[in-house]
Amino acid sequence: MNTFWRTFKVAAWLGWEMDSNWTEPWLFIVYSVVKPVAGAFILVLMYTVFALIGNRADPAAFSYMYVGNSFFIFVGSVLFGTFQVIQSDREWYQTIRYVYMAPISYYVYIVGRAASKVVVAAFAVLITLVFGIIFLDVQIHMALADVPLFLVSTALGLAVRLASGIFLGGGSFLTAKHTHGLAEGIPGLFYVFCGVLFPLSVLPVWGQAIGQAIPLTYWFDITRRLLAPTIGVDSTLVGYDNLAILLLLLVSSIAFFGLSLLIFKAGEYFARKAGKIDMTTSY
């Protein structure tokens, strides 16, 4: 256990240095904020244009979308923060062979490397939400009594995301330099099917079924219920109460952890067998 903790600590420190020491702290803060805020502004303008040409404002739909998008920052960062570790160490820094040979758990090392991205993402989510409340009139009214529930659901959601990231990392042992395709595509999967920006009812029936099978759908829903209970857009998950969703998140985080271990080990095994652990893609 001591080795795991030490690996996590050192990997988290390394991740933080790699993420932030390329520039001055103030520029790093600006950089960390500009990207997610610009992402939110794409949605703001999409809504503005629709409202402008249709002469119809829809603040409830806007708040639904804005809150979902703010918390989606976590998904993109945590997923990218985990699976890119293998590809960046392998292709960019070409240090994977040394880290991999070290007497540490490579799984824990990846989780540690992702930790700095989780912290930065939390900061970006906070900034995006505060910006929305102050300047865009986003409807957020969280009751004090709901704070513990919110914290528990956030922790469980984080566990699911980390496990999903490692799951992908296991796959990326075997693929070429596809970091960008994965970084764009996998969060895209959650963006479409998890009711992040629009209710699941907009999707075709098969799409709704996929969405309901992904635990993050429930995480987004409970987060929105707790933070913005007054927006009144039917998320199509009204049949589930908060405790049922928490239980579901708990079970799925355990299941995803087991699955991520399995896929990670399988990816590792096949990569070693094919001699791909330290391959580079040069095109």
């Binding site: 992402g39 794409i42 249709g54 829809d58 764009e184 209710p199």
Partner: protein, 330 residues
């Protein structure tokens, strides 16, 4: 003069050498990449999901708008036409048709934006960052020793990148038409092709210019590329008509003008006018007419290629003088 020197200064030989360099550098992107077919799934098909999300947003807005128009209540028996009740069935029908047309036009805007996103990301990650990447993996010194013009090397990267990215761009268009049912009305295909290729040359010219600047910026380059994703998607109107920014009072026009330095802004605006008709969105959300935008794109293409030539020469000299051309991780 030695025979080798005479040969090197011969124009035909130099053109042939540089053309071979273009083919040689584009080869690994076009042919080599296909030896790893997984890229088609990861780089061309998977990113379609992100585009789909933006399409569904407009569909969700459209569905709610249509429900409001069709909804009947005691105060609004003919539904809502905007923020006020419709006066009669004719007004309700007109609003309904407008809502459907606007939703289709906005989804089409997203599909075209998604096509351009593919090229912009390729410019950022496979053009602008490429020389820095080559330095990191040790190829740059080989390129610098080779006798061809460095612009031929960048040209080869651009040609290879365009061909490789076309797969994703075409997938996005096909998905837009067949999966999301987008209707395009192309009135002038020749002008459409001219705008598209002018925008591509200008974009890749910008990428070639960035490639040498990134060598100067070193490790910041990676983060700079990451920073030029969402903010550029926003300021250049990849997912909405950029004219919408001009309608936002205060900061909107400033952001739009800054975004206009990226050729994709005018490229997309012109492509949308040519495929959705200039009357889409009530004709209120376009920047200039198509021909003006084409001239601007041609000007940008020439300007960026010239700047790329000079910045490459400058950076090469600077890097050689400081002896940092091949030092990694700086």
């Amino acid at each position: 003069m030695k025979p080798a020197t005479v040969r090197r200064t011969d124009l035909r030989y130099r053109i042939g050498l540089n053309l071979r360099a273009v083919v040689g550098r584009s080869y690994p992107r076009i042919v080599g990449a296909n030896r790893e077919p997984s890229w088609i799934f990861f780089e061309a098909l998977l990113p379609l999901l992100g585009i789909a999300a933006y399409v569904f947003i407009y569909q969700a807005f459209g569905t709610r708008a249509i429900a409001a128009i069709l909804g009947s209540s005691s105060t609004a028996p003919w539904g809502m036409c905007g923020q006020i009740p419709c006066t009669d069935a004719a007004q309700q029908a007109a609003y309904l048709a407008m809502a459907k047309a606007n939703t289709n036009a906005l989804i089409a805007s997203v599909v075209l934006g998604g096509t351009m996103v593919a090229f912009w990301l390729n410019v950022l990650w496979s053009m602008a960052s490429q020389l820095y990447w080559e330095k990191e993996i040790g190829n740059l010194q080989l390129y610098m020793m080779a006798p061809m013009n460095r612009m031929a090397l960048l040209g080869g990267m651009a040609v290879g990148g365009m061909v490789m990215t076309s797969m994703r761009a075409v997938s996005t268009l096909i998905a837009g038409i067949f999966v999301f049912g987008v209707l395009f009305q192309v009135a002038d295909p020749l002008l459409l092709l001219a705008v598209f290729f002018a925008a591509l040359v200008a974009l890749y010219g910008l990428g070639m210019m960035f490639a040498s600047l990134y060598l100067l910026w070193g490790r910041e380059a990676w983060n700079l590329s990451a920073l030029m994703e969402e903010p550029i998607f926003f300021s250049s109107g990849f997912y909405f008509p950029v004219g919408g920014l001009f309608r936002v009072p205060g900061w909107g026009p400033i952001v739009a003008i800054v975004g206009s330095f990226v050729p994709a802004t005018f490229g997309l605006d012109a492509l949308r006018q040519l495929t959705l008709s200039t009357t889409a969105f009530g004709g209120k959300l376009w920047i200039f007419d198509v021909k003006t935008e084409l001239y601007i794109l041609v000007f940008m293409a020439v300007l960026f290629l010239i700047l790329a030539r000079y910045s490459l020469a400058y950076l090469e000299t600077l890097a050689k003088r400081e002896g940092k051309l091949t030092s990694r991780h700086q």
